[in-house]
């Protein structure tokens, strides 16, 4: 179990606990935090990452994958966890408000405003979240879109096939209010990871290939955002490096032979400590 599961999930998955989505958690302090977070997003992105650059001189020659350290400082403010599609669907089953909004990371890194990859979820109706927050800024708010559970599930299936990693995010632990769909090139979380500060936990799962089934097509290699899968010309099979796997499940989605399954990370002694 990740730290949040122990602390906020009574030993089960913290992001499947409705209490972590409760309206009572949205107090004045959190409202201020959320407003400030988006109002100063560009500034925070620039100064935050620039500060990391000064702290940790990134050596570009060092491979940027594998056991990246957790950004301890961000754990209480804004932190996430990778989750596979079936857990996204479980969340969508109990949330009552699903709003698709544009992605602030992509706007900062690519100047793209119409890509709506971010899903704000809530179990309550509120003037503040998410509508009230986004409506403060007309250029943010023009892209907001309210979805039904069925529509949202369809969109997530598409995103999964397109190789986007799903993750839940809290705004001051443990209040969960968003599900992101990230790609390494477009995400400030991945940028932080390249600088040795990862603002999200790996999933409660790890992917495994049934080698008898694998025909070496390499579709999984192509889609893995974490560079965790390799093809061996000798065996003509693909293998997943377990320490590099984040358990997002995207490889499983593209495997035409259903050769990939997700295992429980917590049942594997070394990986159970690998977040």
């Amino acid at each position: 179990m990740c730290e949040f599961c122990i602390e906020h999930g009574q030993g089960t998955k913290w992001y499947l606990q409705t209490k972590n989505y409760a309206e009572e958690l949205l107090n004045e302090e959190r409202k201020r935090y959320i407003t400030d977070f988006y109002e100063r997003f560009e500034e925070g992105a620039a100064t935050g990452l620039a500060a990391l650059d000064k702290l940790i001189p990134a050596d570009l020659a060092v491979p940027k994958v594998g056991r990246s350290p957790i950004a301890e400082g961000g754990k209480q403010q804004h932190f996430g966890q990778v989750i596979p599609l079936e857990d996204v669907e479980k969340i969508l089953d109990f949330t009552t408000s699903i709003t698709r909004v544009h992605c602030v990371c992509r706007s900062v890194l690519h100047g793209v405003y119409d890509d709506r990859y971010c899903f704000n979820v809530a179990t309550f109706k509120s003037d503040f979240w998410p509508k009230g927050v986004w409506e403060q800024w007309p250029d943010y708010s023009k892209g907001i879109e309210i979805l039904t559970m069925e529509e949202a599930k369809k969109e997530f299936q598409k995103l999964d096939r397109n190789g986007l990693v799903h993750s839940v995010w809290h705004y001051n632990a443990p209040f969960i209010a968003a599900i992101c769909n990230c790609a390494p090139t477009d995400c400030l979380g991945f940028r932080m990871m390249e600088r040795g500060q990862r603002p999200f936990f790996k999933a409660e799962y790890v992917a495994a290939i049934d080698i008898e089934q694998c025909n070496g097509c390499r579709d999984c290699v192509k889609i893995c955002p974490f560079g965790a899968i390799a093809y061996s010309p000798a065996s003509q099979k693909c293998t997943i490096h377990q320490l590099q796997c984040f358990g997002c499940g995207l490889c499983r989605g593209v495997c035409a032979l259903d050769a990939i399954t997700l295992l429980d990370r917590n049942a594997i002694p070394v990986l159970a400590k690998e977040w």
Binding site: Y38, E39, R40, F41, E42, E43, A45, A46, L49, A50, D53, P57, A58, L60, S107, V108, L109, H110, G111, Q136, W137, P138, D139, T185, R191, E194, R195
Partner: protein, 77 residues
């Protein structure tokens, strides 16, 4: 670390030109609103700036592609 000298006055709005942002293979640039964000106001005055300098390899693709000659890349010894 590499240095990118960048002339904010020469740089046009990313709505008109975003060649450096799209061309950089390492994602060194980001866009930002010059006046910041204010409630009820569209953040209109956007600009591009080089931020992620540890990722810069000094390949100078941005310098060559900038139509305004607003960028100069140098290697810091």
């Amino acid at each position: 670390m590499m240095q990118i000298e960048w002339d904010d006055k020469k740089c046009t709005s990313p709505r008109d030109c975003r060649k450096c942002l799209d061309a950089c293979p390492e994602g060194v640039f980001m866009i930002y609103p010059r006046d910041g964000r204010k409630p009820g106001k569209v953040a209109g005055d956007w600009a591009i700036m080089p931020v992620f300098l540890t990722q810069c390899t000094a390949c100078k693709i941005c310098e060559e592609i900038c139509p305004q000659n607003a960028l100069a890349v140098s290697v810091e010894s």
